[in-house]
């Protein structure tokens, strides 16, 4: 069988991270380096400034979470959000809205809330992001069950390389509720984001080479105590290895490649490198 060609090296800007015990990349980076502790008591859900105040209060958790890391990532990249195409990825979408929809349909379908219905689409978060930032570039909303983070990263990297354009990647999942706990294992709020760029800039924090490899990959074992507490929080935990590597890159070692599972027979291999002056 033919071996897959290697696509071009890409660059990471503006890593962003949010979970109640590590609310922001500075806190997460320090904890992943063993230099910080978990926030106690855990932070309340974020309040994304991209939304108008009334919308901010009404926004579903998925939207609040995704927009928080999206804005942090764009700020870190120094780019204008209005110009940057975006790929949002979530394994489960908004589980609390799904629970509301299914419960209501099972009791009195005629009282279904129109706002909750239009917020039930998987692309609600990216829709609010493009509305809030005035972004008219391409926006996408992707899911791939347990392998969602790797699939979203692949979609964003491919778009960046093919169009030679920076792309914002945002990954988020939220806790399962109600009867959905019968089938969906998702325990907490976790969101990550980064900008993937085709060229190095002064905001670049790392480069990466990437390819698809046969084999089922393996989610890297957490290195830090902080990452260990998040390892099974929800499907976006597959991103922890990449963000731990980003946090530790300054230590100077070339990290081992990450093989993120895309399926039971295919992995996305990432080789991160520190970018030196």
């Amino acid at each position: 069988m033919k071996h897959a060609p290697t696509p071009p090296t890409l660059y990471i800007e503006g890593p962003a991270f949010w979970t109640p015990t590590l609310p922001g990349w500075d806190a997460a980076r320090a904890a992943f380096r063993g230099e910080g502790t978990l926030t106690d008591p855990p932070a309340k859900r974020p309040s994304p400034q991209v939304l108008a105040p009334a919308e901010r209060r009404r926004a579903p958790d998925t939207v609040a979470l995704a927009l928080e890391v999206a804005a942090a990532s764009m700020a870190g990249s120094g780019r204008n959000a209005a110009d940057v195409p975006c790929v949002f990825v979530s394994a489960h979408g908004d589980l609390s809205i799904n629970d509301y929809m299914c419960s209501t349909l099972a009791t009195d379908p005629t009282v279904l809330s129109p706002t909750r219905f239009h917020n039930s689409v998987h692309n609600a978060a990216v829709g609010y992001w493009t509305i809030g930032t005035g972004c008219m570039a391409a926006s996408n909303s992707v899911s791939a069950y347990e392998n969602s983070f790797a699939a979203g990263l692949l979609e964003a990297a491919v778009q960046c390389a093919a169009d030679h354009s920076p792309v914002l990647l945002v990954g988020y999942d939220t806790p399962t509720v109600g009867a959905l706990t019968s089938v969906t294992d998702s325990q907490g709020l976790l969101a990550v984001a980064l900008v993937i760029a085709p060229e190095r800039t002064e905001r670049t924090v790392a480069s990466f080479d990437w390819s698809t490899e046969s084999g089922n990959g393996s989610v890297p074992a957490p290195l830090s105590d902080a990452a260990k507490t998040l390892a099974h929080i929800n499907p976006m935990a597959h991103a922890l290895g990449l963000f731990e590597s980003l946090a530790r890159l300054a230590d100077g070692d070339l990290p081992a490649p990450l093989d993120l599972p895309l399926s039971s027979t295919l992995a996305l291999r990432l080789q991160l490198r520190q970018v030196r002056d």
Binding site: A106, F117, H118, S143, T212, S214
Partner: protein, 400 residues
């Protein structure tokens, strides 16, 4: 504007909707302006509306080894996949490239939420799903793609695109990029959406559902008719002009940055998608012979899209909405209307706009109510979704 792309070959394609299973009944319905809509008979207390329901889904039994995937959406996927020799075409590509070199990218907005709705009517004493519904891979947005990957024996990159009603148009763009970068040699793209309570009562709550068969662009249009459909296409680098003369030439993706459920009033996001699709195809608007419009029959969508077509295309362009044939099939609309556009090119058949009697004022002469025959070199299809998510695609013939 983006640079031109190299065309991709459409090696196989198929669609199943309320007008029938596969391409032949679809082409026949389009030629005869025969609508597949019927009075709503879906669910226990049907809303007074019209729907595009696919006959026979209830009677489908998946093979034993696939039985755990059972739900309305995966059954429709199974039915739609087995039309027009599609599995044989994929098997040939699999033999040629290897299963890990074929990507699978599907668009859906409902996936199998209908099965989750059903499970909520069957909760046990603890408020949990009954044992036969504790199938995690069914109650998740990626269920459709995981099921189809197993049915087709594919192991390449796979993702679900869920951008509401543009979902299964955007799959062509993602597939083209993967193939261009050499991460796949071929891609199966498509989408499936099925009728369920969420969409029927959801669109009803937004007061977008019509009490009669939808009438796109009609002066007295009253809203949308919901439908269900499955469609698939196999994309490869250009291999053989004679055997497979149909091409994906361009795509454009853009956002409205305006509102979650109403389009930008001047159609700026839709126009940006159109411009990018034409640029990637290297075509001017007057090259387009046929436009399959999004044309849902909602007041606002039709107003914005009708104005866009009127200001950008010559009077000679034949444009129509095919929502009156099978209803608005949501996340599957992009692939179904891509199949219609490919049929238009292959057979020189430009569909009309069924159920529509009198065009609203303000729309251009491009929108046709009756079908027409003639050479279609280039076809454009538009798909616009909630969240202001737009996608336009351009298909054409090999220029040999």
């Amino acid at each position: 504007m983006p640079p031109r792309i190299s065309p991709l070959q459409i090696s196989a394609f198929t669609a199943t909707s309320a007008v029938g299973v596969g391409k032949e009944p679809l082409a026949e319905a389009l030629a005869q302006s025969r609508s597949g809509l019927r009075a709503n008979d879906f669910g226990d207390a049907p809303l007074p509306t019209w729907i595009g329901r696919v006959d026979g889904i209830e009677d489908i039994r998946l093979p034993e080894d696939l039985a755990s995937w059972d739900c309305r959406n995966n059954r429709l996927a199974w039915l739609g996949l087995h039309a027009d020799g599609f599995p044989e075409a994929v098997a040939a590509a699999r033999a040629k490239y290897g299963p890990s070199r074929i990507a699978l990218i599907l668009g859906t907005s409902t996936s199998s939420i209908g099965e989750t709705e059903l499970a909520y009517t069957q909760l046990d004493a603890d408020g949990l799903f009954p044992v036969n519904q504790r199938r995690p891979a069914v109650h998740t947005p990626h269920s459709l793609a995981m099921f189809v990957q197993q049915v087709l024996g594919l192991t390449g990159p796979s993702e679900t695109i869920s951008t509401a009603c543009s979902s299964s148009a955007k799959v062509f763009a993602s597939a083209e990029r993967l193939i261009r970068l050499g991460l796949a040699d071929a891609a199966v793209v498509g989408g499936v959406d099925t009728l369920c309570g969420s969409v029927l009562f959801g669109f009803n709550s937004l007061e977008l559902v019509s009490s009669e068969p939808c009438r796109p662009f009609d002066a007295s249009r009253k809203g949308i008719s919901l439908g269900e459909a499955a469609g698939f296409a196999l994309l490869e680098r250009v291999q053989d002009d004679a055997a497979s003369p149909l091409r994906l030439l361009g795509y454009g993706e853009a956002s409205d940055a305006h509102h979650m459920s109403t389009p930008h009033p001047e159609g700026l996001g839709a126009e940006r998608a159109l411009d990018e699709a034409l640029a990637r195809a290297g075509l001017a608007p007057d090259a387009i012979d046929y436009i399959n419009m999004h044309g849902t029959a909602s007041q606002k969508n039709d107003e914005v899209e009708g104005a866009l077509v009127a200001r950008r295309f010559p009077a000679t362009t034949h444009a129509s909405s095919t929502k009156g044939f099978m209803g608005h099939t949501l996340g599957a609309a992009g692939i179904v209307e891509s199949v219609i556009s490919l049929l238009a090119i292959e057979r020189g058949l430009m569909p009309g706009t069924v159920n529509t009697n009198e065009l609203d004022t303000g729309f251009g002469p491009q929108i046709k109510l009756q079908p027409a025959h003639g050479e279609v070199r280039y076809a454009l299809t538009n798909s616009f979704g909630f969240g202001g998510n737009n996608c336009s695609l351009v298909f054409g013939k090999a220029t040999a």
